[in-house]
Every structure is written in structure tokens, then in C-alpha cells.
């Protein structure tokens, strides 16, 4: 089944991959209150103007995520997907101290519960605002007692992709569906 999926995809990206990447971007947006502007600024800084010329393009590409309210299947291309990966890695680099602090707060919830609960509340707000809340998988993301594993693993993924080889590492993670 995996082989067939790869063979038929050609120059396109699977739904699962864009779903994972959009979730990672949403986590970065949860940390950075001005996340959309930061994503666009980083795209410009990385010379990705051709692929990501404005915020609307980034939004349209992220709408390929089937979990979104405004889901549209635009058939995101590999180069567009890779551009989003580069922006994600660059933003993770900038936000690493915060990502680390949130991860650390989950290790000792008695002492640092404020950081984790603030992060989780804002994440849920963003999910409610942008994702299709009727979907079972989105409901799982909204449930505070069930979403911690998904969030922690996503934070860990972001924290492991801040090196120069980060893009390759993230591609490795995202393509392994």
C-alpha cells in the first residue's frame, strides 16, 4: 500500500505529510503570537519569494490539510512543501529556547504547570478557530487529557530539527507516513 501511494503521488505530497507539517506550524504559531507575520518574514529572509510570495499563499498551502475548516485540495507541490519545511526549521531555530522551556515544564507539572497550561489553552483556541471540530481526530486534539502526547512529540520533533541538517531530518519525519 505504501509503495502504491508513493508511485501514484508523483510530484505531489500526501495528505498525511501536509497534516503533520501544518500541525507543527500551528505549534510554532501557538508559541509566537505573531506567528503568521514571522512565517512570512522568514520566507522572505530565506529567499523563498518565488514560492511563498505572500501570506495568502502560505495560508492557501496550509489549507491542503484535510483537518482544516477551510480545506481545499490544491495539490501542494513538492517545492512548495519543501519551502514550508525550510520556514518551519528556521522558525524552530529561533523559538528553540521557548520550545525547550515548554518541554521542560511538562517534566515537572507541579512546579511549572502555568507554562504548559497556557500553551495548551492557546493551542486548543487555535485548533477551534481553524480546524474542523466535527472530525474525530480534531476532537482528540481538543481534549486536554489526550492531546499531550501529540503536542509533546511535535515539540520534540521541532526541537530536534534545528541543526543545519534540520530540513533533511524534518523531511525524513514527514515523509514517513
Amino acid at each position: 500500500m505504501r509503495t502504491i501511494t508513493v508511485l501514484t503521488k508523483g510530484n505531489q505530497v500526501s495528505r498525511q505529510s501536509i497534516e503533520k507539517l501544518d500541525l507543527l506550524l500551528l505549534i510554532l504559531e501557538t508559541i509566537d503570537l505573531n506567528g503568521i507575520q514571522s512565517l512570512y518574514a522568514l520566507a522572505n529572509r530565506l529567499d523563498l519569494k518565488d514560492v511563498l510570495p505572500n501570506k495568502v499563499t502560505i495560508w492557501k498551502l496550509r489549507n491542503n490539510n484535510p483537518l482544516r475548516k477551510s480545506y481545499v485540495n490544491n495539490n501542494i507541490k513538492v517545492n512548495e512543501f519543501h519551502a514550508l519545511i525550510k520556514v518551519t526549521v528556521e522558525m524552530s531555530r529561533y523559538l528553540y529556547p521557548y520550545i525547550r522551556e515548554i518541554l521542560k515544564s511538562t517534566e515537572d507539572l507541579e512546579e511549572n504547570s502555568v507554562i504548559w497550561s497556557d500553551f495548551n489553552n492557546r493551542f486548543i483556541e487555535l485548533i477551534r478557530e481553524r480546524f474542523n471540530v466535527d472530525s474525530m481526530r480534531v476532537k482528540k486534539l481538543l481534549n486536554q487529557s489526550e492531546n499531550d502526547e501529540i503536542i509533546i512529540k511535535s515539540l520534540l520533533t521541532l526541537s530536534l530539527c534545528i541543526s543545519n541538517q534540520g530540513c533533511q531530518k524534518l523531511k525524513n519525519f514527514l515523509y514517513d507516513f
Binding site: V6, K104, L155, S159, L160, I162, Q165, D176
Partner: protein
Amino acid sequence: MQNKLSFHQSSVSLEIIGLPDYSNNESKDQISIISQWKLTIIDKPLIEGKIEHLGPIMNAFYIYSNLLVKNKIPLYESKLIDIKAENLHLHNIVLKSSKPNVKPLILKIGNSLLSDTINCFDQLNESPKVRIKKTDVNNNIPKNLRFRLNNKVKFFNFIVPPFIAICSLILFSSSFIYFYNPLEYKEKKELINP
């Protein structure tokens, strides 16, 4: 005089001590012959060893973190090091000494220290000043991605659909053998009307 290089990431630092390989015309500040390394994690015992231990320990961390983020069973075991997830936030590391009668060193680290440690290893891997046997990046790439990277997918896209089409045509047409045999029909007709 030995060279010393340090790589830092938040609460973790990795120190590499060694010499340049002058036979390869390397500069003074290069390290190719590693004599010692030290991994310092804040509030944890110092980890140090020989070069032959550094590679397997780095690999263990890379493999374990890969398993962890890919939702597979997070467990790594080898002669030198075991890493196991205690829960979602804590990881148990058992470092076994190669010397007899030395008890294994047991460490418990959280996700933040795990990512710091791996980022230190990444810095070492990417440093132009230290030449070690680099961790084979390709080994961590799943087969389907390697497919894409090698552009083999284009070849398969070209060859596989006609191949499947021909095979299915053969299979489909071979089933007609059971429906109509002209010779058999003729013989039956002769038997009825001799």
C-alpha cells in the same frame, strides 16, 4: 599540545579533545585523532570515554529519538548503552562500562535534555574542525524518501502502469479458457448428430 573543542546547547555541553592529523596536512586547530570526549549534562554525572564509545552512543541517541518521534516503540539496547522511555516525559539511559566489576551508570533525562544532547551531537557532526566518522544520514531516511531522492520514482511511474496493465490483461483473458472451447463444442455436436 592537545586541541579542545566544546559544543554547547542549553544545559548540555560536549567536549572533544584530540590532535590534528598532520600527515593529512591538517591545520593546527583541527581534531582528527580524538583521544577523549566528555558529555556534561547539568545536574547529572559526567559521561566520558574513548572515541570507540562516542560513535555508538551518538547512534543510540539518534536511533532512539527517531523511534520516539515516529510513534514506534522507544527502546534501544546494545552492549554499551540502553535507552528506554519511562513515560512520555522521562527517558532512562543505562551506560554500561567496558571494564569488569564496574556498575552501569543510570541516568534519567527529560525531553528537554534529550533534545539538548542530540543538538550537541548535531553540532559535532556538522563541525568542520572535527573529523569523525560521520553518522550515516542515509540510514535514517525511510526507503520511500530514498526513492524520491534518487529520482527512481520517475522510472517506476513510467514502467509499472503498463506492466500492471499487461499482467491484468493476461489474467483476465486466461479466464475465458473455461468458457468456450471450439473443438470441444464441435465434438459434442458430432456426438449428438453423428
